[in-house]
């Protein structure tokens, strides 16, 4: 594998072209990728130059990661192509891209946990002498690599024993060790502390100064503006702006991410029944894995949405309220009485219901029929003394299915034969066999067609009107605006904003979620950032 290394070494490293790059090193030309009918990236044109740091920003699901993966050969585009120094190129695999000098530091880390840091850094290019592996040389090389970066990391530590942020450092160092000419950093900052992030940015600048094209995909708008030379904004799979970072503000970026106002994805939000004033749920400083010090309330008849970026701790919080995970601090009141649920079962008995963010992973029972999937959570309502009664089974599942309009030829058909929208409606129907007091829903309409989405929103609204409280988590800011009476914004595991439905708009929500500098919600902002 030695010859590959030769190919990667940049002949013009102390580059004459670093200041005024003329031809783009790598260009995306009309790159398009569709996932099962859902657009991921739509005819994206972007050019990346050596010696530049190029920021890539956008909302959840705007297509940043998909674009990045296509650049690095991890995904093949449906249409469009890549040009490497002006010549059309096809990277069939990440390996082929790496041989052309293009690599990625991924969000999902791709290291080998049982190996040491040094082995991971030099994997594929382990030093050898006379055909024999040379561990001494390996450690030396790894150590100098680490020292050059300014990170603190033990080259002989087993990777699997390290913290998340140390693993992230190793991942970044590996890209550097590969001597790539274009490196995509996908959310490299996510598990690093502030000083570590600063060191990371120094490294990125160093790489750029050496003539490397650096692509930085991140949610941290202020930092991307500070570090980058050029920023590209994506929205709904399209590239909507590429501009020099100088002179741009966080507000400008948010505006581009939101797009033209007035385009409502969802039905109007006037027809919501009013929320009640009696408190149903209150969390006091609830703290757990991935979130910290969350104090919020949900009233009866109220629909409350939690929005935030992926990784902001929303899902973890919701699971903890339901007893699926245990808190490490804080407390919780249900209808005024302190409660703590040791298991989902005890939460269910107290009148809570929960739908997880991924119906395929931990929602549906694929081997069971639609009716069994609907009645599984409340089998005591379809049985006597543990004996399932077919009549009750049929009636209860039919009632619940009708309530949310599950479209099925027969309720005994396998759940796998239903569309995504109908599967999601089945999950809602499951909890209507015995309506809960507090309904916790993570991503109520992810991967659901527009008709079913509207139906689900109407059902949620009707349920709240009948007295149920609903706490939902969504990545779709439009959805929160369409259905919720109140909206909480999470960022990095903390509650950073609260909006009444009528006073919220997408720009405010996004600005708060991203922590953009010139946010109009500065009051809450500053309070939250003050500590």
């Amino acid at each position: 594998m030695g010859h590959i290394e030769e190919g990667i070494v940049n002949p013009t490293r102390r580059g004459e072209e670093s200041r005024f790059p003329s031809p783009a090193f790598l260009s995306a030309v009309g790159l398009t990728k569709t996932f099962g009918g859902v657009r991921g990236v739509d005819s994206a044109d972007v050019a990346f130059y050596r010696g530049q740091i190029h920021g890539l920003v956008g909302q959840n699901g705007a297509g940043k990661s998909t674009l990045a993966k296509m650049l690095c050969g991890a995904l093949n585009p449906d249409r469009g192509h890549i040009e490497l120094e002006g010549v059309p190129a096809v990277f069939g695999s990440p390996r082929a891209a790496l041989e052309a000098g293009v690599t990625m530091v991924a969000q999902e880390l791709s290291l080998v946990p049982p190996l040491t840091v040094a082995e991971n850094l030099l994997l594929g290019r382990l030093p050898s002498r006379g055909g024999f592996f040379n561990p001494h040389e390996m450690v030396l090389r790894a150590r100098s690599l680490i020292e050059d970066s300014g990170f603190e990391l033990d080259p002989q530590a087993v990777l699997g024993t390290l913290s998340q942020s140390d693993r992230q450092k190793a991942e970044i160092l590996r890209a550097i060790a590969r001597k790539a000419r274009l490196v995509v950093f996908d959310e490299p900052r996510s598990s690093l502390s502030v000083p570590e992030a600063e060191r990371l940015y120094e490294i990125l600048k160093g790489l750029a100064a050496d003539g490397v094209a650096v692509v930085l995909v991140t949610h941290f708008l202020a930092e991307v503006l500070r570090v980058s030379d050029v920023v590209t904004v994506m929205r709904d799979g399209s590239v909507v702006m590429t501009a020099p970072a100088d002179g741009l503000t966080g507000g400008d970026l948010v505006e581009q991410m939101v797009g033209s106002p007035g385009v409502e994805h969802f039905a109007s939000r006037q027809d919501k029944p009013p929320a009640g004033s009696t408190q149903r749920l209150e969390t006091k400083g609830l703290t757990g894995q991935g979130f910290e010090d969350i104090s919020l309330t949900v009233n009866e008849k109220e629909i409350v949405a939690i929005v935030g970026l992926v990784g902001s701790g929303r899902t973890e919080f919701l699971r903890t309220v339901y007893g699926a995970d245990q808190p490490t601090g804080g407390s919780m009141l249900l209808d005024g009485a302190p409660r703590r649920f040791r298991s989902p079962r005890s939460a269910k008995r107290a009148g809570l219901a929960f739908i997880s963010e991924s119906r395929q992973v931990d929602g549906l029972f694929h081997a069971l029929g639609v009716d069994a999937n609907i009645t599984i959570a409340h089998m005591q309502r379809t049985s006597r003394f543990g004996w399932l009664l077919r009549g009750l089974l049929r009636d209860r599942s039919a009632d619940a299915a009708r309530r949310v309009d599950v479209q099925a030829q027969s309720l005994s058909q396998p759940i796998t034969t239903l569309s995504g929208g109908n599967q999601q409606k089945t999950l809602i129907a499951r909890w209507l066999v015995r309506p809960p007091r507090l309904f916790l829903i993570d991503e109520p309409t992810r991967g659901v067609d527009i008709v079913s989405t509207t139906q689900i929103h109407n059902v949620i609204s009707d349920l709240a009107g009948e007295g149920m409280s609903v706490l939902l988590v969504t990545s779709d800011f439009d959805e929160a605006l369409a259905v919720a009476h109140r909206i909480y914004v999470f960022r990095e595991g903390r509650l950073v904003g609260e909006f009444k439905g009528e006073e919220a708009d997408k720009t405010k929500l996004l600005a708060t979620a991203f922590g953009a500098d010139n946010s109009k919600t500065a009051e809450f902002e500053n309070h939250a950032l003050g500590d």
Partner: protein, 310 residues
């Protein structure tokens, strides 16, 4: 899916068994006789008992590899206690099986280790205890009453066969018609989803372990009752034969899908193949090859069907 392909994938095992019966019957006059079938059922009963218990485990996503050892230990305990009173011996043997199942469940729940490796370990422990209790010797029961269960007949069939039938019906109904059965399917199909809808995953799994242990013990006691003796090294490999029968019947090795009737067909299919080799006078060394091919075919069909769905 067209109804023919759908029917074939669901009842393929029944069709295969019917074809086997027709084929063997056309070659041997002795095959379709009452005597041969009563004999076949009697031989199938011990493995069948174990396999229906194991079916519950497999459906709930559990491997129970300790059934062969439970079979032996229960037989040994029953034979020893039968020296006091034969019926008390039977009860003690079966009771020990239930306790061993409970022990398995406690080990898996407290340590959180995978059931495959966990029951593999406990099976070695159980057989070791059986060896210790007998000092490696054969335990013979003098009291003739002890042989009642294994040798007496009712309506021409051995009592053993009736016990097997009764257990299969009870467990079959439990799986198909009770909330407990539904919970077993749910846990095997998607354990995290089952936990999130409030099913008591641990308790339901305990039931599966205890049912499997009890069935294996019953099989051991019946076998020892047939000969009026027991020793520690009986039933070696039965745990794998049982799982084989379950999978050949069409119950998914991945859990969440299957039925007791499938296992009964699977057991009978395997026994019938052995019977056919005897009747047709084919070299019995081919028997293993045929059985191996059959298992491979059953698992492949399961795997391919699964890939189509997902």
């Amino acid at each position: 899916m067209h109804w023919v392909t759908k029917g074939l994938s669901r009842y393929g095992i029944v069709v295969a068994y019917a074809i086997l019966i027709i084929a063997v019957a056309s070659q041997s006059d002795r095959f379709l006789t009452k005597r041969n079938w009563l004999n076949l059922l009697d031989q199938a009963a011990p493995l069948g008992l174990i396999a229906v218990g194991v079916t519950l485990c497999i459906i709930a996503g559990i491997f129970d590899l300790s059934t062969g050892s439970v079979f032996a230990l229960a037989a040994v305990v029953a034979a020893k206690v039968a020296a006091i009173d034969p019926w008390f011996g039977v009860a003690a043997g079966v009771g020990v099986g239930a306790l061993l199942g409970l022990f398995n469940s406690l080990v898996m729940r407290t340590t959180g280790i995978n059931s495959f490796i966990g029951t593999l370990s406990t099976s070695i422990i159980f057989r070791g205890i059986a060896l210790l209790t007998t000092s490696g010797l054969i335990v013979s029961v003098a009291d003739r009453d002890y042989k009642t269960l294994g040798t007496e007949t009712f309506l021409d069939a051995k009592l053993t066969v009736w016990v097997f039938a009764a257990v299969a019906v009870i467990l079959g109904i439990t799986l198909a018609r009770t909330t407990l059965g539904r919970a077993l399917y749910a846990i095997g199909g998607n354990p995290e989803a089952a936990r999130l809808v409030g099913i008591r995953v641990g308790a339901v799994q305990t039931f599966a372990y205890v049912a499997s242990g009890t069935c294996a013990a019953l099989a051991g006691v019946l076998t020892s009752s047939r000969t009026g003796s027991a020793q520690a090294d009986i039933g070696i490999g039965l745990e794998l034969s049982a799982i084989t029968a379950v999978v050949v019947g069409g119950t998914s090795i991945f859990g969440g899908e299957g039925a007791v009737w499938r296992t009964v067909v699977g057991v009978m299919l395997l026994q019938t193949i052995g019977n056919a080799f005897n009747l047709l006078g084919v070299d019995p060394t081919y028997k293993q090859v045929v059985q191996g091919v059959l298992i491979l075919a059953a698992v492949s069909i399961d795997h391919l069907g699964r890939r189509r769905v997902r």
